[in-house]
Amino acid sequence: MDLELTPEQTLLVDTVRRFVETEILPLELNLDPDADEIPAEDFERLTAKTKAMGLFGMDIPPEFGGPDIDLVTRTLLAIEMAQHRAGLYVPCYGVFGGAGLAQLFEATEDQKARYLYPTLAGEKKGFFGLSEPSGGSDPARAIQTTAIQDGDDWIINGGKLWISGADRADYGLVFARTAPDRGRGGVTCFIVDTDTPGFHVRRIVHTLRSARYATELQFEDMRIPSANILGELNKGFAIASDRLTRQRIPYAAGCIGVAIKAHAMALEYVPQRETFGAPLSSRQAIQWMLVDNEIDIRQATWITLEAAAKADRGEPFRKEAAMAKLVATEAGGRVVDRCMQMFGGFGVAKDFPFERWFREMRIRRIGEGPSEVQRHIIAREILGASLR
């Protein structure tokens, strides 16, 4: 196993690091501390730069115009892109582009024409509608939204909770039960236009994140054509599950990036800050916090890169992705917490980014499958049949 970065990886990492330092961090000096957007003119200017750098749309497969970056390199870049105040949930404020909903790459040509290509062109936005009030950690059993066939259409009734972006989306992927007695084998994914009669955004759900909120959706006799089934009937859970597994790696990388930035700020601060006649860095209590930060960051980084490397090799990586998500989110929380402690009052003030990272990092132990579910996935993988 080679632990050195290739020259190309080093170049890309340095390029993105410079971009964050020179383009993103200065902008944040004038933004609200909780902002998740930059002014439109800055967004357009910086998006033009990332396109010129050949780094726009890194998650888009090359056959759809993406730059063909492997997951290890993508993970290294995600770590860099998160190293600013909004970096955990809005790395570089989205100027590197996104892939939209990756499931659409497997859509039919007709679906791609109606949803995927407009999304890649920035003309449409989508949302991912899986979790319900009945539970998000066990979607296969918790999904109570139903879809009942009526001729060539399906009538969907039910609701979703914790859905990001549905209030500003043009369409969404909605998972509904199409075979009531078949557990995870009875869930189908539908592409739903948000102007469909019966589609309602009922309320905003406020969370620890001030700028980004979740929504609660309600579906009342929503009529969706069979042509809008994504993938196969009753095989929607595989679509959801694959997405959840892949998503865990960049999710982990964002936590590592923030932890690295917080730790770097602490390393700069503690030799300057004096208490009782000596710099903080001379205190063993502080030194041990820094050491624990180093270890947390190193562990999370290698575990996450290993998961990415296995995915790149086409090997099963469910266990490694779960481990990356578990370790990085928990380590990230500990690192930010220690840094807040070292900064004292400044650590909790909005003058510095720690309080935002602290709030947002707490969500990471729950979002995309809580720590307990990740442990369950890992246990199932290492115990295999003996668990059942």
Binding site: P33, D167, R202, S210
Partner: protein, 106 residues
Amino acid sequence: MDARWIQLNDETAASLNAGHGHMGVFELADKNELPLFIGYAGGRSVGGLSREIREAYQRLPEAALVRWEVTTSYLSRYQERLMRHVALHGKPPTHNLDAPKGQLSP
């Protein structure tokens, strides 16, 4: 917003202790409780809700009522109040230049 409306005039505006220096959202309305402006005091607000409301009232002296809510979720609450207004009235309050980013169902 559950907060009750409070009469707003030069005298009450000058003595306003709305949420003191806290972050939060507020609404200025006409005498019929129709919001004319929805604003917020964010993490960089120098004087918090009190000062933001006073400054908004200076720009909007026809406002007759004010209400506010102290919250650290000021950005999402601000968006929600704008969306609620659009869902009820079809357009943002007359003195809000920004349309909400999303849409709530009526």
